[in-house]
């Protein structure tokens, strides 16, 4: 499956047919720091993503002093 990462935008290929949770663990991404987007919907960490699907892990952090 394809995973789209942002800032800067890039794509990585990981094994599919697994729960989002497992993909996040492999990429060492904390669930609290991203939205998991598939198409125009959000998916929760327990959902399984098929090998032919793409998900975007969009960082939610905005920074600096505001």
């Amino acid at each position: 499956m394809k995973v789209v990462l942002r800032n800067p935008r890039r794509e990585v290929e990981v094994a599919g047919g697994r729960r989002v949770k497992d993909v996040l663990a492999e990429l060492q991404i904390i669930a609290e720091s991203v939205l998991v987007i598939r198409g125009d919907e959000l998916v929760t960490a327990d959902q399984v993503v098929r090998d032919d699907e793409t998900i975007e892990l969009r960082p939610v952090m905005s920074g600096g002093l505001r």
Partner: protein
């Protein structure tokens, strides 16, 4: 995972609330939290005109979206910081949002007000960019609100922002900063407007989810100066604690607000004067903004190219 409300498949899990929601029920939850914040801290009355400070990011546009739907009388304020493409794009997002919703937007430009854009201010002052930027933002928000007769300015600060600021203040025991950290700051001088943060009960992930589900076109790319800001480092630390123990950020911030903040409120108030130059409120004779503008003028800031060789916009 199922929605706590309706039992349909959930879109988002909120571990600190031990809940998951489908998209429509999450949007409801979100709006309820904003209403609760406004009510609890008496942020503004239904008929008051609210100036909403928008950056083009998810938080401030989500806030504006909620307030518009709640029927509040809002006007947006975009501060053009002059930070390369980031400012160009974020301004366009705010303008499009305002046009699509049919709400007014005021644009104020730091380069005009201070004499140079943020990247040049950074070079002239030799201080971190966020320092001159933050100072200018706070100053201009207040002044624009006063000039246009708004009693209150609302900003998009979320739970993570507030927890990270608190963490920073506590790490350095900045006891003068602690009483000033609040979801609502009353106007303590005729020339200060009330400042409120209606998203303080919602985490950064929740505001991002709201903006995404509402199809708000916000700027995902960061301000180039945000990288390496200490507040980001603090947010990362807090997120690791959150991962290990859901609710950690919430308990840290809310515990402070309920139990600790009152202890830090100073008995004697500081004396507030009006700046000899611009008339805005300061504790000295000349306000920090006017001093900054002087420094920029003295060092010929406006003309200098910025560090990456490009002329600042």
């Amino acid at each position: 995972m199922k929605c706590r409300k309706c039992g349909e498949r959930a879109s988002i899990e909120l571990r600190r609330h031990n809940a998951a929601f489908c998209a429509p029920d999450f949007l409801d939850f979100f709006r309820r939290q904003v209403r609760e914040a406004i009510r609890k801290h008496r942020m503004f009355e239904a008929d008051e005109a609210v100036l909403v400070a928008v950056s083009g990011g998810k938080d401030s546009l989500a806030l504006w979206d909620v307030l518009i739907d709640e029927g509040s009388r809002t006007t947006g304020l975009y501060l053009d910081l002059g930070i390369f493409d980031y400012s160009v794009e974020s301004k366009a997002k705010c303008e499009r949002f305002a046009a699509a919703r049919g709400v007014p937007l005021i644009v104020s430009t730091v380069a005009e007000e201070v004499g140079a854009p943020v990247p040049v201010i950074k070079e002239v002052t030799r201080r971190p960019p966020c320092s001159g930027c933050g100072l200018s933002k706070r100053y201009l928000m207040n002044r624009v609100a006063l000039e246009h007769g708004f009693p209150v300015v609302a900003t998009g600060h979320n739970l993570d922002d507030e927890a990270a600021t608190l963490f920073g203040s506590v790490m350095h025991w900045q006891t003068d900063a602690l009483p000033r950290q609040s979801p609502a700051l009353a106007a303590t001088h005729p020339k200060l407007v009330r400042r409120v943060k209606p998203l303080y009960r919602l985490s950064e992930r929740e505001t991002a989810a709201f903006a995404f589900l509402r199809k708000i076109d916000y700027i995902v790319e960061e301000c180039p100066f945000a990288k390496g800001a200490t507040s980001i480092a603090h947010k990362e630390i807090l997120n690791r604690m959150e991962e290990a123990s859901p609710g950690a950020k919430h308990n840290f911030l809310f515990g402070f607000l309920d139990k600790a903040r009152p202890a830090f409120e100073r008995a004697e108030a500081v004396t507030l004067n009006e700046c000899a130059r611009c008339g805005q409120v300061t504790t000295g004779t000349l306000c920090a903004f006017c001093k900054l503008a002087d420094q920029v003028k003295r060092l010929g800031g406006g003309l200098r190219p910025s560090s990456d060789g490009r002329r600042a916009p």
